[in-house]
């Protein structure tokens, strides 16, 4: 049984397919990472270093930005990721004319 799933070649995170324990080595196809803390199933693990401010990439898409330096094997979640959507409406403005 595979331990993690990488959804896109551009991704810098993988998804835990089962609960992962601290210190465990996981991966396949030449990609091996040491898990730094317990990872619940379905959660994300960094496979590269993600410097503070850089995008977290899943599905080949930016899903957020690192709020601190993230090391390979680290749990990537709300504690170290910034949600880019702060005020949706201001970030996606429509002019008065466009609103119809």
């Amino acid at each position: 049984m595979a331990s993690v799933l990488r959804l896109n070649d551009d991704d810098n995170v993988v998804i835990a397919l089962r609960p992962l324990s601290q210190g465990e080595m996981v991966g396949k196809n030449g990609l091996t990472i040491a898990i730094r803390s317990a990872i619940p199933v379905g959660h994300k693990v960094a496979i590269n270093r993600i410097p503070k401010g850089e995008p977290v990439i899943k599905f080949g898409q930016t899903i957020g930005y690192a709020s601190e330096d993230i090391q390979p094997g680290e749990h990537v979640h709300v504690q170290n990721v910034i949600d880019p959507v702060k005020n949706w409406k201001d970030q996606h403005p429509l002019t008065r004319d466009e609103r119809k």
Binding site: M1, L5, G42, T62, I63, G64, K86, W88, K100
Partner: protein
């Protein structure tokens, strides 16, 4: 894929051949239920709305009723009205006349419940006889109209079953067919990814207008979209941001270009991938898809759900080992080996495609087999 279906007047092709009794207003529901219960070859759609509605809901009701009646899976239809509702059965009958066998009754004109039931039994028998021997003809994927939906989602939906359905959606579109994706509120956070795929500027504007409308309505009722999402349950399940949640949701639409945005009850104007405005709530969403002419609905689920439709086969797909264990009875396609054995997402898509072929050939989906024929008329103010 070579498929078989029922060719309708006007050229559209259906994968089922239903006799439909359709309540144009809530007042007609008892009649529709009575007929659908009495005749195994009749499906009934009861209406939760249809009168004293504001203009937008009034339009949804009219367009949905017509859209459901026009669905190519419906071989014949009887509109059952009271007689004083906002979209009178007689008017809908006139709009549909000539397209397929169609009739209407008004309870007030027939003279009450008993006499209306009596007339409806006669109509049911007549229409069943009229369409039951209709022969099937072959058609290709270019005439296929699928719609994609996810519900009862968990962490496996966004990473395995939605991407697998996305591949199927792309294959249908590449073969010249049509794919529909709804759940408007699920696009918040993935709008950039959708806007990059539009065919024209108008579609871009249509998407943003729809989202602004939903945002404002939601805020007026006390909820800011970005504050309510991701939910605590999402976060516990591993979803970190709204963008991540939305990206997982829209994976069902694959990567094809977006032709345009359809409103409730509106049919796609040509093949390709279309977005449709419809509720996130499962039954409202698949009801909207049936009302937009979908032949088949691909429904991904993690936790499992029994949801079905009166007129569209709903193919339930799950990649969740837990969901399969608990709710396997309600799932048509088990692709949980993507999670447990490292099976590829493409292999999941292949199995979904095989299921589509079987269901079109006549195999009943689990929801059809188990009698799930839920319906709800989409209304404003429901996300």
């Amino acid at each position: 894929m070579e498929l078989e279906g029922y060719r309708r007047i006007g050229g559209k092709i259906g994968v089922r051949n239903h006799v439909l009794f359709l309540a144009t207003v809530v007042c007609s529901n008892t009649i529709v239920r009575g007929i659908a219960t009495a005749w195994s070859d009749v499906v009934g759609i009861e209406n939760n709305a249809g009168c004293v509605a504001l203009a937008d809901d009034q339009k949804f009701n009219h367009d949905m009723l017509l859209g459901l009646a026009r669905n190519p899976n419906v071989g014949a239809v009887v509109f059952v009205g009271l007689g004083c509702e906002q979209a009178p059965a007689k008017d809908l009958f006139r709009e549909l006349e000539g397209e397929k066998p169609v009739a209407y009754v008004h309870i007030q004109e027939e003279g009450g419940t008993s006499k209306t039931l009596e007339k409806c039994h006669i109509l049911a028998k007549q229409f069943i006889e009229e369409i039951r021997n209709k022969s099937k003809e072959t058609f290709g994927m270019d005439e296929l109209i699928i719609a994609t939906k996810c519900g009862g989602s968990d962490w496996t939906t966004t990473i395995a079953s939605n991407p697998a359905v996305g591949i199927v959606s792309d294959r249908v579109v590449q073969a010249g067919g049509t794919s529909l994706m709804g759940e408007t509120a699920g696009w918040f956070g993935a709008e950039e990814a959708l806007l990059r795929r539009v065919r024209n500027e108008q579609t871009k504007l249509d998407i943003l207008r729809l989202l602004h409308g939903k945002y404002d309505e939601s805020e007026r009722r006390g909820t800011k979209i970005e504050e309510a999402n991701p939910t605590p349950g999402n976060i516990a399940g591993g979803i970190t941001t709204l963008a991540e949640k939305a990206m997982g949701t829209i994976k069902k639409s694959g990567e094809s270009p977006i032709e345009g945005v359809l409103s409730i009850g509106e049919y796609p104007r040509h093949p390709g991938l279309w977005l449709m405005d419809n509720p996130g709530m499962d039954i409202g969403s698949i009801s909207g898809m049936a009302g937009a002419g979908a032949q088949i609905i691909l429904f991904t689920t993690g936790r499992g759900t029994p949801a079905g439709s009166p007129i569209c086969p709903v193919i339930k797909i799950s990649a969740s080992p837990q969901g399969m264990k608990l709710m396997g009875e309600n799932i048509d396609v088990d692709i949980s080996d993507i999670i447990t054995d490292g099976a590829s997402i493409v292999s999941g898509a292949d199995r979904i495609e095989i299921a589509i072929q079987k269901v079109i050939k006549g195999q009943l989906t689990r929801s059809e087999l188990l009698g799930h024929r839920e319906f709800i008329m989409p209304q404003m103010g429901v996300l």
